[in-house]
Subunit: 383 residues, 2 copies
């Protein structure tokens, strides 16, 4: 069976996380993706983490399997070569993901004059088209003041570039939805998507902005509690810390059963007039619930907690280190990531992407290109 | 012009965040999405935040514009009705997003016997098919020990359900890529995607797992510093805290220029033998750089900082509260979110999704259905 996106050809002119993950996700599904960089590479070419030989593990991860074209985009010749590449004919071609904005030589009107059915997705930082990085957008959302232990006063940014990653996925969806319509109606698309709009839209979808709008209050800082339901961290006798949640009634009943706290919890319910089968009540009264549950955890080691909880539906896990996940991968425990040795990068982790197509067998993760490696092949077609 | 996904019909049997955001994203692009719930609704029906009338703003946000079908999935009749709905004929039909696993009456083999070209995307929690929630998966990644101020010892979960949201977007991409291939080759797809695989794959793509594999060390906790480049928080004279980053050489040069620190920074560069035009060196020596820059911020108010930085390319923003973003939306400042009043929900925030299609005008955000509102219409077609 051919790959889902075989025959689709995407030109990517973008750096950092959002645009490159959009292209990578399409590549992992079989599309042909050409990343175009300025001479010497974009600003993310040497971004940390680096391999012992100084190669960017970040850049390699984001561009695996893509072709690389290096063009002098400061010259009219380079700009014209890029436009020819973007507007090249072909049913699956005519797709551009870029994070450029305000460049007349690559604006939508100019490109669309060359190929009216172009699918053009512009990845932006700020909603007004300005640049931004994830940490700056996140600061604007208010999430950093809702993150971390209750006693903190300072803002805490998430370390995962979540807005960048989500923006990249929305850009990827925009390409595929545009492709669907083009094949149906013959028309092109021009879509813009910014980290800032992704943040606003996402926080709307989750109801958080409505809550802030209605209450006039920012969400409180609750540590590792899970807003609106039951979740807590708990420190074990061996120093491990676990995350424990009970979202459904069944999980909640099983958690009380395993920890032998059902009677005490029922007494509290009566005393405060609450119904802990309602997850909202579990959240409201989380302090006393946590107070009753944590001693059970404090008296047990991780193997003991695992033995008790693994037969139940309670959702839990130890807080681990990133190295633990890397060890799992090296041990062959992940179906989507594995270890590979490559010159310059050393022994490192590669992925085929998170989608598993059980009937089709696992794809092979490809290598990242060297900068400009595909100039002749790719540009030769459009000269 | 018709919507990109007009004519596409998706059945969604899923609760919480991942599956419903996949369906919502398709709906926002014009697909017809039927959410199927058990009688009385799934476990997320009354999830916080709630409106003053007790309706779930979370559920309303996640299911806006979808149709709702309520079925007794504990009976053979209900299960058969769902299978008929999933396998109903039509070029754009035969698409299922579910988070069910291990149910023989809805497994891929059973469904595919009814419609061989089915596009079936299963959203899972754990990589082995088990359930999980975002906070539990995040605990396994190690990110909570890399999040927050250096002085903390406890794990800090992110509050945005980032793995859930990313998993939903990957599921959405799986649907669209499957649709592309089905239209080209006539074949169906069966795809599984789990929060856990999304986390492993994403941390591989960003190079973080390779770094942990190569160094044997977990990433250090660095507060609001940005790993591998220059970013810091800074407290102002008026108590505001801002996030300031300088990723490119131009941003870095402008930041030094505005803050009048170029000479002092150059002296440090010579003293420690570093080149701060290299973002890695800016990260290595961030303590001394921050020490030189923060006094400039400490002597200025937010308007003064804005006046000085807004003419430059430096990426910065104040850390705000979620209420500030809600106020922006209420003031009409967002192109993707706005205020709407609806019975039961009250005055709340709605979104059309983050994609903007400038040539096509903004879509209208639809209302969320009431549970089972579309039983007759939708099931009537497949009885």
């Amino acid at each position: 069976m051919s790959s889902p996106l075989q025959g689709v050809r995407v030109v990517e002119v973008s750096s950092f996380v959002a645009g490159p993950t959009a292209g990578l996700t399409l590549r992992q599904l079989g599309a042909d993706v050409v990343r175009v960089d300025p001479v010497g590479g974009a600003a993310d070419t040497r971004r940390w983490p680096l391999s012992p030989d100084g190669r960017s593990l970040y850049w390699a991860g984001l561009n695996r399997g893509k072709k690389s074209v290096e063009l002098d985009l400061t010259t009219e010749d380079g700009q014209a070569a890029l436009r020819r590449l973007v507007a090249a004919p072909g049913e699956g071609s005519g797709i551009l993901i870029s994070n450029l904005h305000g460049k007349p030589w690559l604006d939508d009107e100019t490109l669309r004059a060359l190929r009216p059915d172009l699918i053009h997705v512009q990845v932006l930082g700020r909603a007004d088209g300005g640049s931004a990085v994830d940490y700056v957008v996140n600061a604007l959302t208010g999430l950093p003041y809702a993150t971390g232990p209750e006693h903190l006063r300072e803002p805490v940014n998430h370390v995962l570039p979540a807005w960048d990653l989500l923006c990249g996925m929305h850009a990827c969806v925009a390409v595929l939805a545009g492709l669907h319509r083009r094949q149906r109606d013959g028309v092109g698309s021009h879509v813009t998507v910014s980290l800032e709009d992704v943040a606003t839209s996402t926080l709307t979808t989750l109801g958080w902005l409505s809550e802030a709008h209605q209450s006039g209050r920012a969400r409180e800082r609750v540590g590792n509690a899970v807003y609106g339901t039951f979740g807590t961290d708990a420190t074990l006798a061996d120093g491990n810390v676990v995350m424990v949640t009970a979202i459904t009634r069944r999980q909640w009943a099983e958690l009380l059963d395993v920890t032998g706290t059902a009677d005490a919890i029922a007494a509290v319910e009566r005393a405060v007039g609450a119904d802990f089968d309602d997850e909202g009540d579990r959240y409201r009264h989380r302090a006393v619930i946590v107070g009753l549950l944590r001693p059970w955890f404090a008296q047990r080691t991780l193997p003991q907690v695992a033995a008790a909880l693994d037969g139940t539906h309670v959702l839990w896990a130890p807080f681990r280190q990133l190295t633990d996940l890397a060890i799992d991968v090296a041990a062959g425990l992940s179906a989507v990531a594995s270890i590979r040795d490559e010159a310059g990068l050393g022994s490192h982790v590669v992925t085929t992407g998170p989608l598993r197509l059980p009937a089709e067998g696992p794809p092979q993760p490809a290598s990242a290109p060297t900068l400009g490696a595909d100039n002749d092949d790719v540009l030769g077609l459009t000269r």
